[in-house]
């Protein structure tokens, strides 16, 4: 960080910069940095560990002022209750079927549109892209009012159809932006080479662009999946019958305003959060590269 560390600035083997690497840092400073990071990690992870802790408590000791992560008489009773005495599988099924359909439809609709935005300079292209950005500014709660009223008039309340339509369309603008950014990085020469071989521009999309853009499609699929999977607001408005509940509504119903089923709630949270977090952490490198693609290049 500073010249008192005792190396010369011409020594190339020790690139030194406070903002780049810490080779030249004093041990005290290195320890301090690790301390700060450990503290941040504890803050990040502690509330999650608390859910785990409550989920392992036996039924008669759910309310306890103990701060131990693994309770003394840990039991899996809450998990048994959630899996067998609650509608857990029903919520999971509802969420899965809505979310997967949504994500697939969203990717298909967005991929062709993004190709048009990436490869053609048609009139209205710029305003179209700005329009897509503007839709991201509309508060979700704002669209809820007309969508609820229209859905009520069209008898789409308490159906999967209404939710699937709404979710797959709402994710399109963001998906188009990400996919367009990715297509832009694929050289146009590839399309042209294919066209010289007598392939039409559309066929070159299917034969060249689509196979090359599988990573971006995976990112978009995952984004769409996560958005729909984690949605509460639209589901709360559209689904009122208990057999239609997605897991977000189900979890909320366990945490009623007057009586909270802490054990069942925590066990269900853990069962849902662990796979989602694993998927997210596993794919975080791609997700993040997809997010930063546009901004770094722009």
């Amino acid at each position: 960080m500073n010249s008192s560390n005792g190396y010369t600035i011409h020594d190339k083997s020790k690139k030194r910069s406070f903002f780049y690497r810490s080779k030249g840092d004093s041990p005290f400073k290195r320890i301090l940095i690790h301390l700060v990071l450990v503290l941040a990690c504890v803050i990040a992870v502690y509330p999650v560990l608390r859910i785990l802790s409550v989920s392992l408590r036996p039924g008669d000791r759910l309310l306890s002022t103990s701060l131990a992560i693994i309770p003394k008489d840990a039991s899996l009773g809450n998990y048994r209750e959630v899996l067998f005495d609650k509608n857990f599988f029903l919520w999971l099924w509802n969420s899965l079927i809505i979310t997967i359909t949504t994500a697939v439809i969203g990717v298909i609709l967005a991929s062709t549109s993004a190709y048009a935005f990436s490869r053609w300079r048609f009139p209205g292209r710029g305003p179209g892209l700005v329009f897509l950005l503007t839709t991201q500014m509309i508060p979700a709660a704002m669209l809820m009012i007309p969508i609820y009223i229209l859905a009520a008039r069209l008898h789409l309340i308490n159906t999967y159809k209404g939710l699937i339509f709404a979710y797959s369309v709402s994710s399109i603008p963001f998906s188009i932006w990400i996919l367009k950014g990715y297509y832009d990085t694929i050289p146009v020469e590839l399309d042209e080479a294919a066209m010289i071989d007598g392939v039409s521009k559309l066929a070159s999309f299917y034969r060249i662009i689509l196979p090359l853009s599988t990573p971006a499609m995976a990112i978009v699929f995952l984004f769409n999946f996560m958005t729909a999977w984690n949605d509460f607001l639209l589901a709360r408005i559209m689904l009122q019958r208990e057999t239609m509940y997605t897991w977000t509504l189900g979890l909320q119903s366990l945490q009623g305003q007057f009586q909270t089923e802490w054990g069942a709630y925590s066990a269900a949270s853990i069962l849902i959060a662990i796979p989602v977090m694993a998927l997210f952490l596993f794919s975080s490198k791609w997700l993040i590269s997809g997010l930063t693609l546009g901004s770094v290049k722009g």
Binding site: M1, K15, R16, S17, F18, F19, R21, K23, I33, H34, V36, A40, V45, P47, V48, L63, S64, T65, L67, K86, N87, F89, L90, W93, I105, S113, Y115, A116, R119, W120, F122, L129, M137, I138, P139, A141, M142, M144, P146, I149, L150, K161, I164, S168, V169, I172, L233, T248, L251, S269, A273, V276, F280, L281, S284, L291, T292, S295, V296, G298
Partner: protein, 340 residues
């Protein structure tokens, strides 16, 4: 108790199949019509891109553009639970709704301007914590050291956990007797806090939760930005004798701004429109913890004042839109849109 049974599975698969068939058929019809009109009759040179865009465009028109116009129409009505089927429309109704927003309480007590100020305060607090803590952690992580990957993985956990679970869990932890914050406060000899019923502390609770949730996103985006800055700049600056602060101010910040500007504007929009956190943490439905969008939700779906809420929604959108335009003017945040 409704267990997952065959009838439910059959019903849901049937609905999904129906939805997919409707979408495929509709797309096929649209494409054939467009092909016939644009390609065969008009011989338009943009026939193919228009055909590629059509299905998504139709979807967006049906589920975003049309609802917005429909909402505009509702804003000029007295639609409510009582007048749901047969509302009356008119300019006077619209004017009345608009007047009500600024002169009467939006919900029971809270007025529009305090609500707006609170939303701005909420957004400013959130963004300053997200950016400063996110940048600080990103700088610490942007160096070669042991356990770097592990730290990074653990630190994005709040972003990875489903937001509804995070919000409901924090709400539980703000419970007076058994929440861990109050337990810790008591352990170190302080008095426990009424997080749920005290208006001030409820607002603080909301902020704590959302800071916890929002820092990882900023951290990761800014870390990506930091990694793209070449070390040579820092070396050159060091040769010129620049101090650490100088280097931060004249290299890190300006070089980060192409990454930071869109992240800040996205973050602002998301925070301004954040529904889950203020809605869930505010378990006792204190009007003093509502921000604009949660008040909008309550006006529409708890008080069922649809006409009023529709007008209110446009006012909220306008506030955000003006901010976004001003911000983009100032930073050139949309430059990339036209260039490519």
């Amino acid at each position: 108790m409704h267990s997952l049974n065959l009838a439910i599975i059959r019903n849901s698969l049937g609905q999904v199949g129906f939805t997919i068939i409707v979408i495929v058929l509709a797309s096929a019809v649209i494409e054939m019509v467009l092909y016939a009109v644009l390609k065969v009759i008009l011989k338009n040179k943009y026939a193919i891109p228009i055909m590629l865009l059509a299905p998504a465009a139709v979807g967006l028109i049906m589920l975003v553009v049309y609802p917005v116009f429909y909402e505009f129409k509702i804003a000029f009505s007295n639609m409510s639970l009582r007048h749901f089927k047969n509302p009356s429309y008119g300019l006077a109704r619209g004017w009345n709704n608009l007047k009500l927003i600024f002169t009467q309480p939006v919900l029971k007590q809270v007025m529009f301007f305090p609500l707006l100020l609170r939303t701005i305060l909420w957004t400013v607090i959130q963004l300053s914590f997200h950016v400063s803590l996110g940048l600080g952690l990103a700088i610490l992580l942007n160096r070669k050291m042991k356990l770097r990957g592990l730290y990074r993985t653990i630190l994005i956990i709040p972003w990875a956990i489903p937001q509804v679970i995070a919000a409901l869990t924090w709400r539980g932890e703000f419970q007076y007797q058994y929440g861990f914050i109050n337990i810790m406060l008591r352990d170190i000899g302080l008095t426990a806090i009424q997080w749920k019923s005290d208006p001030f502390w409820n607002f603080v609770a909301m902020n704590i939760t959302n800071i916890w949730l929002g820092v990882p996103f900023m951290m990761i985006i800014l870390l990506g930005g930091l990694q793209s800055i070449s070390a040579e700049y820092y070396e050159a600056a060091e040769i010129d004798g620049a101090s650490a602060w100088d280097r931060f101010k004249s290299i890190t910040l300006p070089m980060l701004s192409p990454v930071m500007a869109p992240a800040v504007i996205l973050g602002t929009i998301w925070t301004f429109n954040n529904f889950n956190i203020p809605f869930f943490i505010n378990e006792n439905e204190l009007e003093t913890s509502d921000i604009l969008v949660t008040a909008l939700f309550r006006a529409a779906f708890q008080y069922n004042r649809y006409g009023f809420a529709a007008a209110f929604a446009f006012v909220i959108f306008l506030v955000l839109f003006i901010f976004a335009v001003l911000y983009m003017r100032a930073t050139g945040g949309l430059k990339g849109v036209y260039e490519k």
